[in-house]
């Protein structure tokens, strides 16, 4: 497009030639040499302008201007280090915080899962919407049907995991374990670091007796043994052969920490022992993931699957009663992992963005103040012929310089504090391990700082374009006094700031209130001074080798453990239960969910409702302070020689026998079993599943009548949290040296951990809200100080004429309060919207909680009054004589 650039000298020569030609022509017309010269120049007009135009036409002018603006901007910023430091710091903190939250959002919500073709991965969920049951699990025949449906490359169900006893070392150890189908790693598309994965085509009905281990276990328990492959591993008393070691940093997809940190994987076909017989109605496969056939979207797959499932229901009408309305749901794996955290994260990102915005507004205010101080400079430049667009460009460049410096500062802060920040993240956060500062995060930080710069640079820049030159130039000497328009903008900015802060503070207040209510919820059990210690009884693949095969066999061990445990120093009470009996200390998959059949109540749906049950020893209820309302708790004779007994909670009684006395009623948890279980007692409701949720119906069964593999020992007393687990382990292992003891935790800690995510988002939002309040306070302080300094002269006159100081104070306060109240009014309206949007995150508090709204608004106004009072007091203390001279 550009030919060779024309030289300046060439252009000058042309102009010179023009003038000569014109002069000669005029001479010919009879003008004198002198007149001809003058006339030619006159006809030519503005020579400099022509030269400038020539200069401008030849180059990428904007680049020139940009370089100039940047140079000039840097000089200006250097010249007012105080302003620059405050602005950069405000923006740096804002961008640092926003980027930090974004890095979490990026890792959890935006980043694809770290497996090949993550878009093909889905979680397969079976529901019985007809009877309101979700996630009922999958049966083995259904698994095979799905795999041959043509919709999936692989379907990989899991038989549940949890614990496995790793014996053979110096100490029996508990390892985090997952049993899954042999095609599990093929489904995920992951290969081990060493050795090989399971053969996806393996058709072994039971366990394949091959194991993969995690990098951590390999380094820890096996000292990075290079010859690990082929060695044997004793898991729950069975010998497995190690065939591979997973890469470092590999994590299973899982919502819970424990699910992500699997250490040992074993594959099974789930069609032989120890799995139950593979019947179609036996939905014991708790979870399943699948990889869709290539090119199939989740939506397409779902519609094909619906047809397929309908076909199966026709084919096996007896197994799928119509009332259940069996459905198989495909959820993108990423979504299923994130679960309910999405809402909280979006709230956090919104909150931190608001803080950044308030920071921007503050900087905009500072810049406006500076712009009015520089008003004369701008006016002079404009009078000298600077284009308005150039002045605006200059101011915008300065803002962008500030914001980019702020962005870099923010990243630096983030980088220096990243260790600490990762520590305060709750570990239960999904995809916690993937949070990092990557390119996306860096780009986000850059983008945000540019947007921020544009936001706070816009107001001053627009004003620069609309300066009225004459009054500006008329001002002698000092150059403050912004235009009325600027003052209006500054006030509008403060109102905005207050409105934004109010929204944030109300959000924080609601969360705080919810959290407070949660802390004060009566859980129905007493977690103080109670420690739970976990154990795992092995489940060998051959049931005949199981020393604790029946409840009777196991009760011998349980009684022995109770006796020995009591000798541990400090222990006053002891009880044993299964993992499901640990209040707030178990995951969803640890619940024993079984069908529930009530005697005398015909099962209308054909498919019984389900119930979760816990298995406990008689001392359990008293130890946890759960009151027996009617009947009795278990006793020592509720064993295999006596009829089976059950204790139910109030919620159960309410749900199933609302009008009858539940005592003496009978129920079953296994449709095939001939034996009924008699209800012997009703206990008060306790929130053992979640503090935030109403108690659900629950059944307790006696440890002496029902065996459990994942045991928990409960201790109450003055316990030394460090010594007790060691002493208890010694006692347990003197009863059975093969049993690992692990996971000791004070119950009160467990209770507070169950609130970790809520606490995290509450603390974060509260922190942001406080920052916002501080910034808004500073903003209004700045504006009032500015007004005061502008009016010092006027105030001096008023005082000299006899005005009361109190009146002047009132006048200034009224001005500030007006702004604050305006902001609060706007903020209240916005808060109503925001609070309804976040209703899902609240507990026990209505979104329009009047207490929160009122107290937050009051607090904000209080801060405003304080922020106005300080400069206002300075104003009325002024000596009239000084003020009059002040100019």
């Amino acid at each position: 497009m550009f030919q060779r650039k024309r030289k300046r000298s060439d252009f000058d020569a042309e102009i010179e030639a023009h003038l000569q030609l014109e002069k000669e022509r005029l001479r010919e017309q009879g003008l004198s040499e002198q007149d001809a010269e003058t006339a030619a120049r006159q006809a030519f007009g503005n020579l400099t302008r022509a030269e400038e135009r020539f200069y401008e036409s030849g180059r990428a002018l904007w680049w020139d201007h940009l370089c100039q603006d940047v140079r000039y901007g840097l000089r200006m910023l250097r010249r007012s280090p105080g302003f620059t430091a405050i602005a950069v710091l405000t923006i740096a903190l804002g961008i640092g915080a926003t980027t930090a939250i974004f890095s979490i959002v990026d890792a959890t919500l935006l980043h694809p899962l770290p497996y090949p073709h993550p878009e093909q991965l889905v979680s397969v969920v079976d529901d019985f919407p007809g009877v309101g049951a979700e996630n009922v699990g999958m049966s083995v025949p259904e698994w095979h049907d799905l795999e041959h449906s043509g919709i999936f490359q692989y379907v990989s169900p899991m038989g549940g995991g949890g614990s496995v006893n790793l014996t053979g070392g110096s100490q029996p150890a508990r390892a985090s374990f997952l049993s899954e189908s042999p095609n599990y790693f093929a489904t995920l598309g992951v290969k081990p670091e060493l050795g090989r994965a399971f053969d996806p085509e393996d058709k072994t009905p039971g366990f394949t007796l091959e194991a993969l281990i995690s990098d951590g276990l390999w380094r820890g328990a096996f000292g990075s043994d290079p010859n690990i492959l082929g060695k044997s591993l004793r898991l729950d008393n069975d010998l497995y052969r190690v065939i591979g070691v997973m890469p470092p940093g590999y994590h299973d997809p899982g919502q819970m920490v424990e699910e992500r940190n699997t250490e040992v994987w074993a594959a099974a076909g789930f069609a032989g022992p120890p799995a139950p017989p593979p019947l179609r109605e036996s939905h014991f496969l708790v979870e399943a993931i699948a990889r869709l056939a290539p090119g199939l979207s989740v939506r397409e797959a779902q519609s094909r699957l619906d047809v397929f499932v309908a076909g199966l229901q026709k084919q096996y009408p007896e197994d799928y009663p119509a009332q259940n309305a069996w459905k198989v749901r495909l959820v993108p794996l990423q979504e299923s992992l994130v679960g309910n955290v999405r809402e909280s994260l979006i709230l956090l990102l919104g909150a931190v963005a608001l803080v950044l915005l308030i920071g921007c507004v503050n900087v905009a205010n500072l810049m406006l103040a500076r712009a009015s101080a520089r008003g004369r400079e701008m006016a002079v430049r404009q009078a000298l012929g600077a284009a308005r667009s150039r002045l605006m460009g200059q101011l915008l460049t300065e803002s962008l310089l500030l914001s980019v410096a702020g962005g870099i500062g923010g990243l630096a802060i983030l980088f220096c504090t990243r260790r600490f920040l990762l520590q305060i993240l709750p570990e239960s956060l999904p995809r916690f391990n993937e949070v990092s500062i990557n390119w996306t995060v860096l780009l986000f930080a850059l983008g945000t700082s540019l947007v921020a710069g544009a936001i706070f640079g816009l107001a001053p820049a627009l004003h620069a374009g609309r300066v009225d030159l004459v009054p500006m130039l008329k001002q002698e000497g000092r150059g403050s006094t912004g235009s009325a328009e600027q003052a209006r903008t500054r006030r509008a900015l403060v109102v905005t700031e207050f409105a934004l802060s109010l929204v944030l503070m109300i959000a924080a207040g609601l969360l705080l209130h919810s959290f407070w209510d949660l802390l004060n919820v009566r859980p129905g059990f007493n977690p103080q001074n109670v420690m739970a210690v976990r154990m795992w009884l092995p489940i060998p693949n051959d049931p005949d080798t199981d020393p604790y095969r029946t409840a009777a066999q196991e009760s011998v061990l349980v009684r022995e453990l109770l006796r020995r445990g009591k000798t541990v120093p400090g222990v006053e009470e002891i009880a044993i239960g299964d993992l499901a009996a640990v209040p707030l200390g178990h995951g969803r998959n640890d619940l024993n969910t079984t069908p529930l059949i009530l005697e005398g109540q015909e099962i209308r749906s054909g498919q019984p409702p389900t119930i979760s049950h816990s298995i406990v020893t008689p001392e359990y209820f008293h130890l946890l302070g759960m009151a027996v309302l009617r009947g009795r708790a278990f006793n020592d004779s509720d064993d295999d020689k006596h009829p089976a007994a059950a204790v139910i909670n109030e919620a159960f009684a309410r749900t199933y026998w609302p009008n009858d006395d539940p005592l003496g009623k009978r129920l079953k948890t296994d449709p095939a079993s001939p034996d009924w279980i008699t209800v012997v007692g009703v206990i008060a409701d306790a929130r053992t599943e979640s503090l935030a949720e109403e108690t659900v119906a629950q059944v307790y069964l006696s440890s002496y009548q029902r065996r459990a593999k994942d045991l928990a020992i409960f201790l109450r007393g003055r316990l030394d949290p460090a010594a007790v687990p060691v002493q208890l382990r010694a006692q347990v292992q003197s009863a059975d040296p093969e049993l690992p003891v692990f996971g000791a935790q004070m119950l009160s800690e467990g209770v507070s951990e169950s609130l970790a995510e809520r606490r995290f988002s509450m603390e974060m939002v509260a922190l942001f809200a406080l920052t916002a309040l501080l910034l808004a306070g500073l903003g209004i302080y700045g504006v009032i100080s500015y007004i005061v300094s502008e009016r010092t002269h006027e105030i001096g006159i008023r005082l000299a004429l006899g005005a009361q100081r109190a009146n002047i104070l009132r006048m200034l306060l009224r001005q500030g309060l007006g702004l604050a109240l305006g902001g609060a009014a706007v903020g209240l309206v916005c808060s109503v919207i925001v609070s309804y949007l976040m209703a899902g995150l609240l507990y026990g508090v209505r979104p329009m909680d009047p207490l929160t709204f009122a107290s937050v608004a009051l607090l904000l106004v209080g801060v405003a009054v304080l922020a106005c009072y300080i400069p206002a007091r300075r104003a009325i203390r002024v000596d009239p004589l000084v003020a009059l001279r002040y100019e």
């Binding site: 030919q3 024309r6 030609l21 014109e22 030519f44 302008r49």
Partner: protein, 138 residues
């Protein structure tokens, strides 16, 4: 200011300017200012009679218009520069009739096309305006 040479730039003498272009006959009546954007058209039109240097173009426009139009010579050169960049005219140094070195401009074929286009546009515009004004009087 990125796109210079756009039509919006004022190529004509501002009416309020302190100077007025030199007239060979003394100023007897008000001259017409050029409508914005018409200078390019006039330059192209002038060059249709053969190559010419800047001063010649200025003179030609003034004379051909019976001294009605007022052209600031200084404004001519940025316009020439622009037309050259758009490749509607080309330039080379030559010698003028009275033996002076001068830069001569001539139309390119793209320039001819542009001239035809602009002429048609201008004719339509002026005819339309004339019709409206005539209607007003009637």
């Amino acid at each position: 200011m990125i796109g210079e040479g756009c039509w919006s730039q004022v190529d004509i003498l501002p009416g309020t300017a302190a100077y007025s272009g030199y007239m060979s006959t003394q100023q007897s009546r008000e001259r017409l200012e050029l409508l914005q954007g018409t200078l390019d058209l006039l330059i192209l039109r002038t060059l249709i009679f053969g190559s010419q240097h800047g001063q010649g173009i200025a003179r030609a426009i003034q004379q051909t218009s019976d001294e009605e139009l007022l052209v600031e010579h200084g404004a001519l050169y940025p316009a020439l520069q622009r037309l050259e960049q758009r490749e509607w005219i080309s330039a080379k140094w030559g010698v003028s009739a009275n033996n002076r070195k001068a830069r001569f401009y001539s139309l390119t074929s793209a320039g001819r096309k542009q001239l035809a286009k602009e002429t048609t546009k201008w004719n339509r515009l002026s005819a339309a305006i004339a019709r409206i004004l005539a209607a007003e009087e009637a």
